[in-house]
C-alpha cells in the first residue's frame, strides 16, 4: 500500500469550490433568526462582556417530534447565597422567527437557579442559554435540537 498525502486534481478542486458556493448561497435562506440575531440580542444586554462556556446544564431533547411543545430545562450551578447567586438566565433559539425564548430572574430565595418551560421551535436549530451571575460574570451553553415537525403554524 502506498502512503502519500492527497492533493486534489483540477476537477476535484472545482467540485469543492462549487459545493462551497452552493452552501454559501443557500444557507442564509434556510434559517429565520440567525446566530447573528442572537449575538445582537446579547450585545444589547451585555455589550462586549466576555462569556465563558460552562456552569449551565441545558436539558433538551436531542430530537423533538413536535416543535410546538419542546421541553426546556435550564439548571445553573451556583450556591445561591446572598453573596453569590445567579441573577438572570436568557434563552435564545437561533432558528426561530424571533430569537428570544425566555428570560428568568432569580434571587437567593429561589434556592436553585433552575426552571422548566415548554417552547416552540420552528425547525432544527441551536438553543443558546446565557447566565448572568451576581458578580457580573457571564456563562453560556448551547445545544442542538432536531425538529421533525416545525412549531410555527406552517
Amino acid at each position: 500500500m502506498q502512503l502519500r498525502s492527497w492533493t486534489p486534481s483540477r476537477r476535484e478542486t472545482m467540485g469543492l469550490g462549487l459545493a462551497a458556493m452552493l452552501a454559501a448561497t443557500l444557507a442564509p435562506r434556510l434559517v429565520m433568526a440567525t446566530e447573528e440575531a442572537v449575538a445582537a440580542e446579547l450585545k444589547k444586554l451585555y455589550g462586549d462582556t466576555p462569556m465563558a462556556p460552562g456552569k449551565i446544564k441545558l436539558d433538551l431533547p436531542e430530537i423533538a417530534e413536535n416543535g410546538l411543545v419542546v421541553p426546556l430545562n435550564v439548571d445553573v450551578e451556583s450556591p445561591m447565597t446572598d453573596g453569590d447567586y445567579v441573577k438572570a438566565v436568557h434563552v435564545f433559539a437561533d432558528g426561530n422567527p424571533l430569537p428570544q425564548v425566555v428570560t428568568y430572574k432569580f434571587t437567593p430565595q429561589s434556592g436553585k437557579a433552575a426552571a422548566s418551560v415548554r417552547m416552540r421551535l420552528a425547525q432544527t436549530q441551536n438553543v443558546v442559554a446565557v447566565a448572568e451571575m451576581s458578580n457580573g460574570t457571564l456563562y453560556t451553553a448551547k445545544a442542538q435540537v432536531k425538529v421533525t415537525i416545525g412549531g410555527c403554524g406552517g
Partner: protein, 109 residues
C-alpha cells in the same frame, strides 16, 4: 385572547426550614405568536402572556419574561427555598394588560 381560565399550581403545603421546594404552574392561553396568518391571509396579531412573577409574602423571588416562542398553555416550573410560613402569590400578565393571580399557603415547621 385574554386570560380566561383558572391557573393550576402545584406547591407543597409544608416544608422544613431551608428545604428547596419545586413549584409547578400551568395556565390556559393560546400564546398567539403574531407569526401566523388567518384563512384570508391576514396576519393574526400577537397576544401572549409576557410576564410571570412569583412572590412569597409579597417579596418577588422568581420572574420569567415569556416571548412568542413559549408554547401555548404555558407551563413553568421553578424552585423556592423555604424559610418561614406564609403565602405564595403568582401573577400572569397578558399583552392586553389583564392579569391573573393564584395563591398558595406554605407552613414551615
Amino acid at each position: 385572547m385574554a386570560i380566561k381560565s383558572k391557573p393550576r399550581i402545584k406547591v407543597p403545603s409544608e416544608a422544613k426550614a431551608g428545604e428547596i421546594i419545586e413549584i409547578k404552574t400551568l395556565i390556559s392561553h393560546e400564546m398567539e405568536s403574531g407569526q401566523r396568518k388567518d384563512s384570508s391571509g391576514k396576519p393574526i396579531p400577537r397576544a401572549i402572556i409576557n410576564k410571570f412573577t412569583a412572590r412569597f409574602n409579597g417579596k418577588t423571588f422568581f420572574e420569567a419574561d415569556w416571548f412568542t416562542a413559549v408554547s401555548a398553555n404555558p407551563y413553568q416550573a421553578f424552585f423556592y427555598k423555604a424559610s418561614e410560613s406564609g403565602e405564595f402569590t403568582f401573577t400572569w400578565k397578558d399583552d392586553d394588560g389583564s392579569e391573573q393571580t393564584a395563591s398558595a399557603k406554605l407552613t414551615v415547621a
